[in-house]
C-alpha cells in the first residue's frame, strides 16, 4: 500500500473516531442503589441552599427536572430562565463520565467569571462643556438599547473557581447542522488550550436566544451557582 493512501486511511479512521467520541454518551444503566445517592445529594444541595439563603447574596439554582435556572436573593426567587436542555460533563483528558456526575451534584460553585466579559463604557459630562459642540456634553443623547450596548454571543461560558464552568448556548446555536457543529466543536476543543478556558467540569444549558442574551448582560459578578438533582418537589 502506498504511504499516502495508508496515511489517508489512518487519518480517516482517527477523524471518524473523534466524531464518534463527540456524540453524547449513552446514559449509564440505572442502578437501584443510585436512588439512595440521589436523595443524599438532594438533601446536601438543599443544605447548601439554606446556607446561601442566610447570606445577603445572589445565587443561581439550576433545576433540570423543571427546566429552570433561577436567580435567588437569600431564599427569594427573583428571576427564572427557562432551560431547554441541560448536560453535564468532564473533559475526557481528566476524568470522563464517572467523575463528571459527581462534581456538579450538591456542590456550590463560586467566583464567576464571564467569558467573553461584558464591557460597558461610561459617558463623561463636564458641566461647563455641555453646550459646546463636544458630543459628550450633548443633553439630547439617546442611549442604545441593552441589546445594542451589549450584544450577547450565541455561546458563552461562566468560569467558576476550582475548574468548573457553566456553558450557555442560545437555542439557535444548538441546532446548527451536524457538519458545522462538528467543526465548531473541534475549534472549541482547541480553545481549551487557553488557560482562561481550562475548565475541568462543565454544565451546558440551552436557552432561547432572548433569555441567553438577558442572562449574559445581567449575570451578577459575585453570584454563586448550585445545580440540584432533579426533584418532583417544587422549589
Amino acid at each position: 500500500m502506498k504511504p499516502a493512501r495508508f496515511f489517508g486511511i489512518l487519518w480517516l479512521l482517527v477523524v471518524s473516531g473523534a466524531t464518534v467520541c463527540h456524540l453524547p454518551s449513552a446514559a449509564s444503566a440505572r442502578d437501584p442503589q443510585a436512588s439512595n445517592a440521589v436523595f443524599r445529594a438532594r438533601e446536601e444541595a438543599l443544605r447548601h441552599r439554606l446556607a446561601l439563603a442566610k447570606e445577603n447574596r445572589l445565587y443561581f439554582v439550576l433545576d433540570p427536572d423543571i427546566g429552570s435556572l433561577t436567580l435567588f436573593h437569600e431564599a427569594t426567587p427573583l428571576r427564572v430562565w427557562h432551560v431547554v436542555d441541560a448536560q453535564a460533563g468532564a473533559r475526557r483528558l481528566f476524568a470522563g463520565r464517572a467523575e463528571s456526575q459527581g462534581h456538579w451534584r450538591a456542590v456550590v460553585w463560586e467566583r464567576p467569571r464571564l467569558e467573553p466579559p461584558v464591557r460597558r463604557e461610561r459617558r463623561l459630562i463636564v458641566s461647563d462643556q455641555v453646550n459646546t459642540p463636544d458630543p459628550a456634553g450633548a443633553v439630547d443623547w439617546i442611549p442604545p438599547t441593552p441589546e445594542e450596548e451589549v450584544p450577547a454571543p450565541e455561546r458563552y461560558i461562566v468560569h467558576f473557581a476550582g475548574g468548573s464552568g457553566l456553558e450557555v448556548v442560545a437555542i439557535r446555536a444548538d441546532t446548527l447542522s451536524a457538519r458545522s457543529s462538528l467543526i465548531q466543536g473541534l475549534v472549541r476543543s482547541f480553545r481549551g488550550f487557553a488557560p482562561a478556558n481550562w475548565d475541568r467540569y462543565r454544565i451546558r444549558i440551552v436557552l432561547s436566544a432572548e433569555e441567553a442574551g438577558m442572562l449574559y448582560r445581567t449575570f451578577p459578578p459575585e453570584a454563586a451557582f448550585v445545580a440540584i438533582i432533579p426533584s418532583s418537589i417544587p422549589w
Binding site: 439512595n36 431564599a75 427573583l78
Partner: protein, 233 residues
C-alpha cells in the same frame, strides 16, 4: 566488491521530509487532542429520579429503610427554605435589561419595560468640583412611601448637566409632572416613578431612578405599598 551505498539525500530534501512529517503528525494528532479536550457530556435529567421512583416499589426493605428518612428530611429542608422566602408581593428590577417584575414566590403578576441608570459621570468643572455617577444601585430596598402626583425638587446636578447654575431658591427648583402619576421612594433620592418620555423606556437613561410607563406604574402602585421590598440586581 563493495556493497552499493544508499544515495545521500541533500540537506534541502531532508528538511522537506521533516516538515512534511511534522505536518502529517499534526494532522493526525489534532483530532485526538480535540477529543481529549472535549467534554464527555451526559443529560442531567431524569435518570436518578426515575431510578428512585421505580425501584422503590420493588426495592429491598433495607433500601426503603434508608430512603424513607432521607425523603422526609428533604421535604423538611424544602419547607424550611420556602418559609424563608419573602411573603406576598415584591418587586424585582433587572438593570442590565431594563425590566421590572411584580411577583410573588410562585408567580409573576406584571412584567414591565423600564429605564434605569445611564452609567454617566457628571463632573462639575468649577466651584465645588463635585462628581455624580448616575447608576441605579443594586440590593434590597423597602418602599418607604408612595406619593401621588409627586413634585420634583430638582437637585444641583439636574441644572449642571444642562450647563445651568443651580438656583438659590427652592421654589426655582420645583418641577411638576416630570415624575408622572406616582413616585415610590426607595431612600437616598432613588425612586420608582413615571416619565414624560415613554418612547425611551427600555434604555438606560435615568440618573439612577427607575422610570416606568404610565399604565405599568399604576399597576405597580396598586400592588405595592410602604414596606414592599424591591430587589435590584
Amino acid at each position: 566488491m563493495d556493497a552499493p551505498q544508499p544515495p545521500v539525500r541533500p540537506a534541502t530534501e531532508r528538511w522537506k521530509l521533516l516538515v512534511l512529517g511534522a505536518a502529517v503528525a499534526a494532522v493526525l494528532i489534532a483530532p485526538i487532542t480535540a477529543v481529549l479536550l472535549s467534554f464527555d457530556r451526559q443529560p442531567m435529567v431524569v435518570n436518578g429520579v426515575d431510578a428512585a421512583a421505580e425501584t422503590l416499589g420493588g426495592a429491598e426493605d433495607s433500601l426503603l429503610a434508608d430512603i424513607a428518612p432521607l425523603e422526609i428530611e428533604v421535604e423538611k429542608l424544602q419547607a424550611s427554605l420556602n418559609a424563608q422566602a419573602t411573603p406576598g408581593l415584591y418587586l424585582v428590577v433587572d438593570r442590565a435589561n431594563n425590566r421590572l417584575w411584580v411577583r410573588s414566590r410562585d408567580s409573576v403578576v406584571l412584567e414591565a419595560v423600564v429605564s434605569t441608570g445611564s452609567h454617566t459621570i457628571l463632573r462639575e468643572s468649577t466651584g465645588r468640583k463635585r462628581t455624580w455617577t448616575f447608576d441605579t444601585p443594586s440590593g434590597r430596598y423597602p418602599i418607604l412611601s408612595e406619593r401621588r402626583h409627586p413634585v420634583w425638587v430638582k437637585p444641583d446636578w439636574a441644572f449642571l448637566e444642562e450647563g445651568q447654575p443651580p438656583p438659590e431658591r427652592v421654589i426655582d427648583r420645583i418641577e411638576n409632572g416630570s415624575l408622572g402619576e406616582w413616585a415610590l421612594d426607595l431612600g437616598d433620592g432613588y425612586m420608582i416613578h413615571g416619565t414624560l418620555y415613554e418612547r425611551l423606556l427600555g434604555r438606560s437613561i435615568t440618573h439612577g431612578c427607575i422610570r416606568v410607563g404610565r399604565d405599568d406604574l399604576r399597576a405597580v402602585a396598586r400592588a405595592a405599598e410602604p414596606g414592599t421590598p424591591v430587589f435590584i440586581f
